[in-house]
Amino acid sequence: MAKGEYKGPEIVFENVTKEYPNRVKALDNVSFTIEPGEFVFLMGHSGSGKSSLIKLMMLEERPTSGKITIGDDDLSEIKGGKIPYYRRKIGVVFQDFRIIKSKSVSENVSFAMEITGEKRKEIARKVDLVLNIVGLQRKAGEMPDCLSGGEQQRIAIARAIVNVPGLIIADEPTGNLDPANSVEIMNLLEKINEKGATVVVATHERELAERMGKRIIMLNHGVKSDSNDDASAVFGGDSDE
């Protein structure tokens, strides 16, 4: 995969508020822009609104108010039947890997292409390619349970990138990994970012995020501030900053 193969979209949140039916306000008037091809960390404690923000980007939830634009897509205009096609433009990685234990490494990855009706030959070629990128080409036929946590997360990353999505969303991707594996996964995400993908990583591991030297968007009780902002002055929240 050459540099620029991934067409990372711009992400724009404009005054987005998300309130759940139980009156819990997960996000409160959050605005930010992530540039095309940017690598950004979403940071905050549990309950800070990171997951809600990711759910909004995945169209798992809709905002109570405000507007979200990802690339050419105004998310409010994407209705039910179009959501799967929108999600194919996003690669998603979870803390608990979410790989299918009954499928081999290569099957877990090819699965993401089968839903699009891709040709078997093309699937085999691309699966081989991405397993090479994540360093699992020699373990293609193995079952996930035989692999370490770091390797299982690499399967999830391979699955996330096999359809060459412009946007990679990783929700606590290193949450279940030791420090060495965490660094490897971050390096892998950075490598994908260098090829043009916009990468958004939600994490509560401040040290890891700071070591990467990327922009950090702080969330605290649903209120946002950039790492370089004076959170209190700009947003009035009790940010970590």
Binding site: M58, R87, I99, I100, F111, T116
Partner: protein
Amino acid sequence: MNNSIFSKIRVFFYMLRQGAKNILQNMFMIFASVSVIFASLMIIGALVSVSANMQTIIDHYNDRPEIRINFKSHVTEDACLAVKEKLSADPCIEEVTFISAEENMQGMLETFEDDGNGDLFAGYTDNEALRFVSLDVDLDSTVSGEEFENYIYNQIEGVDSVRNIAGIVNKLETVKVVVRTCSVIAIIVFGCLSVLLVFNTVKLTVFARRREIEIMKYIGATDVFIVGPFIIEGFFVGLVGSVISYGVLKGVYSLVYEYFMKNTLFGDSVELVPFESMAGSFLLWFVVAGVALGVSAGSLAVKRHVKV
């Protein structure tokens, strides 16, 4: 995004493969579901067959005169015609038809010939004990068959037997209503039972694959792609259940049909509906009902899980 017709065909075959995989991994419950659909359709099919034949039998008797009076063999044609005159004068009687001993003998001969025993009976055609005259009577609606039957036995000399066809028809009509009501109840009860069992079978597969379904949603699988294999599983259960029940019903019905063709019903040879004349409708409705039950149960089972 590859939206070509070929990619859709590939997705369809992928769903078929997954459906087949579900079936192979869940054989015991599939067997249970097929059995329930089979049993339900058999019971419904049996009731519908009985109902269809009830109508044929009723139509058969409706074509007959309401009352037939058979006289003893010593009663002469003149005596019988005198009774005819007497009955014809009664305003409650619409029509009286005389049947000669010759016609009765011919009728009996035909019945024996139909049963393949024509040669056996041929030697008895001159036997005086078997020669008798009859009257066919049509009553108007103000008189009941039972009342008239009693009147004939009590007031007319030389009567051997009275066949009250109207009475038989009334009883058959009552049985037909009961059978039809039972059919409707059976369709509802067994329909619900089948949906419930197939629902649970597919639900087991869905439960086993819930994580896979969740992942599918996140990576952009359409609802059709997710639901497809489970609907195929339900379709398979319904199709197999319906085809087996059709085959078994056909076999059982043929045996019953042959039995009634060799034996008489109410002392009369009644032609039942041959299975061939119902086969097309049965096959169509069994397959439609079986597949509809299976598919609806499969869709219901997976519905909640596609909402991610």
